[in-house]
Symmetry: D2
Subunit: 291 residues, 4 copies
């Protein structure tokens, strides 16, 4: 297993300077940095910039993975063909960029949009049908670029389509691609699954990506999730992918608002404190997960 962290932990906006975070996370003890694809649209745009970022990662021995939440206007399951087209265009432009950077994983609620607008119409069955159909199309590009798409299972407040591992397994079976897999996140699982370790075991070899976070999105080890049991389940399925912590502990900014963090989850979240917690957490995970 490789241990990573999602860069937005340290920031209030989704886009940031990953050249700054790559050596930092290396120093803190991580193998992987997950970046938000928002930056690949807004900041790292040219191939030269992408390759420069890849070089920084390579030089630091850091593997990159990518996360994304499509906007309402680029929704693969929309009834509106124009919105589906926007989504398809976006992903089909994005995947070759990830390939260029040797990024093998793109995870998130890629089959829909985010954050969820509860006032919008939710035609769950129709949306699922369209999502399967369009994901099948997109999966061809994913296969060509050798990027695995992680279908993130989200809690009921962030998604209405895939709330459990079981639903995600049905979904990827319907899509039927080697490059469309289940993505689990302990924070979401803690709200939806009957039993977190059992859901991990059920995913088995179809688990393509994994996010880790405590019940209130602190770094693993600072809350009450059953980490020993989670580690046992990951060993049971011989999970060899990336385990990326995705903590959010600061209020404010676009992230605070979209993640619904209305308070600082930890007192006085200075960069020094965030660094210490991240380093402590990855040491914690290696101790608990590895035998």
């Amino acid at each position: 297993m490789k241990y990573g962290i999602y860069a937005p932990y340290w920031t209030h906006e989704w886009t940031s300077d990953y050249e700054y975070f790559i050596p930092k996370v290396k120093k803190l003890g991580f193998d992987v940095l997950e970046i938000s694809c928002a930056a690949l649209v807004e900041k790292y745009v040219t191939d030269a910039q992408l390759l420069e970022l890849k070089k920084v990662a390579d030089d630091n021995g850091i593997v990159l993975t990518a996360g994304y939440g499509p906007t309402k206007e680029q929704n693969l399951c929309s009834e509106d063909p124009a919105i589906v087209k926007k989504a398809m265009d976006f992903f089909q432009a994005l995947l070759p960029k990830l390939q260029l950077m040797d990024i093998k994983i793109l995870g998130g609620g890629l089959y829909s949009y985010w954050p969820l607008d509860m006032t919008m119409k939710m035609d769950r069955e129709g949306d699922l049908d369209r999502a399967v159909k369009n994901m099948r199309i997109l999966s061809k590009t994913a296969e060509e670029c050798d990027v695995t798409l992680g279908m993130e299972v989200l809690n009921r407040y962030e998604g209405y389509m895939l709330n459990t591992c079981g639903q995600a397994l049905e979904f990827i079976d319907a899509v039927g691609s080697t490059h469309v897999k289940v993505m689990l996140d302990t924070f979401h699982m803690n709200i939806e699954e009957d039993n977190i370790p059992e859901a991990i075991r059920r995913a088995g070899e179809k688990l393509g990506h994994l996010h880790l976070g405590e019940q209130n999105r602190q770094v693993p080890g600072k809350g009450s999730l059953p980490w020993a049991e989670i580690g046992q389940a990951l060993r049971d399925i011989d999970y060899q992918g990336a385990a990326v912590m995705e903590p959010f502990v600061m209020k404010g900014g676009t992230i605070g608002e979209e993640i619904r963090v209305w308070r600082d989850i930890i007192p006085n979240p200075t960069e020094e404190k965030l660094d210490r917690d991240a380093a402590g957490s990855v040491a914690f995970l290696r101790h608990v997960f590895e035998r």
Copy 2:
């Protein structure tokens, strides 16, 4: 401690025939039935109807408690005085009805509105100030009617004002009434608190009402919450109030939508199965919580 259940467990709409549920919950092993105040506006309107309902409860040896989520148009913390007035009028009409029925507890996000509309402006500090000021006014009526108002601590997706027990304690201290207390719900705590039992101990004698539910809102005992620890914490603070389970396991209807239940949480939720789970759960709680 008295053990109860919230009637909407069995229904798809907030209003229902409580005369039907009172003998049922007695038979299933409960001491308390919690009703939604929606019914006291739509269905049980006259004093005669209220007293008839009270009589059914008395005859069955069932204590009633009440829950409510104010609508967007009756929001005590609104910047719009007309909306605040609507809220105040509503509660000031409601409390004497509760008094008439000998209902001593009214719980919910009474300081704001529900379900939360994420697209609305959230002036958290201003809203808290207005909520304290207006709750102080309302508390006078609550004291006169001897109805305790439970300020429910909600998870980040359902509320932006009081997400932790600590915040609620500050809030009720600012209000300063004997009849405004903290209300905790294990389902929400499981998403927000660092440590559920510690939050219960911190609330101590200021805990006025308690809702119980598993992480995915099944009945207690069907999931993974630390019930032994929760029971220990309740014994530590010598909690003598009502412990009301508030399970939601069926998709569909207004409840399914507002509670964000997009699937049946348990397979085949027939009334017979719901009854069996409820009876099993209250036996479970008595066994785990009582010494």
Copy 3:
């Protein structure tokens, strides 16, 4: 799964009047009563007595299972052939009695003796070899009588041969009989296994018998063992055998001494309190274990 309880919960000596306990445990909600074989030597000796006991069980719809801890003088793994012979004679006389009563399970540290005398020589490897060899012989009788022998995994203070499920699986594989299976006990597992549910899953279909108890041998639900996870593991392996609680909560008598209970584990353990805890615990287990 069938739910049972071990009769010595209520007594200070191993032998008691099972005619008294059979209707009691039925009334408290159990399917199974486990009896100590000590009584089959001291009290229920004649075939008529055995058949009378069986009839009481049948009339009450109660299934019987049996437990035993061989004495130091009837030790199947002893270096002394006379002691081995005593053990073999004892079991070969006992098994037809169990068959007569339609008892299908005999569980305990049958491969050795109990309680463990730490001052005796412990030749673990030699003892294991002899135990395998002699258990193979005994298994023929077990097969003929259709009684499954449960090789109980004991904690380090009660046994030095089989402390983990993994060791027991090796042992029964070496014996190689359809009627020699693993027996697990959550009280012992809580001291030895890295992970209780994982051990249950590893046992799988080789789990022949199961004892349940909290960390300090109270009835399930009164302590901190991970019952939800244990239930999940039992469903994972589709365990259809008996789950027999084996609580010991009173000091005094032979039982108090041999079980090392130097204090009343619960305050004031009257029969009425013991009955209430037992009834509460079996309701607790049915609620947590069954879906």
Copy 4:
């Protein structure tokens, strides 16, 4: 809180070269090394040797604490005055040595003997009376030497006098010395207490020393004990003493026999693996326990 480890983790006998372990544990991340007093009788005998050992500790910034299990011949609660005298002489000679080395804590089953011989007479009440009386006498020397005596609470297989925190609190209240306090050990608590964190909170400021270990005596983090809850309890009581892990994972030698470790608890326990686990565990504890 200061984090320590008991040296016998790495050895098969109780006495070892502490000059070797002091720099090692420093490098692995610890603040404290706990030594067995056996060595202060057998190996570090002269004042010069003791002071040399103290110097090595000081030079490495390591605090020393001490543990001891009195033999059957030096039992403070014996009915035989000669055995009591031997115990008193031993401790009264030992405490000034600890003072010389600036060791402030001596923990263990000091009120009795160890390992427990189950075949000996156990007059629990009489033994407790004698233990209180003699501990009162010994406490004078402890006060003079400013060494706190930790009355270790042991599981039922290792002790018959103090099995719970509640019993230990009664015991130290009866002794009534500033220098006689409760000592808890999570391994033992896991077998005896209804609820580990609650027992820690009950001990409160009377907790003088703390041992940590998983259910099967692996290093903290490798098993299933509720470390997040334990950390919360330690913060609740503002514990400022030493938290010393006391893992035992290897079979063999006097330690394997007396600790009843009949198998290697972890596969292939090389020194390199033991070091890695120890370093991982202290990082784990700092992450989980500190806020």
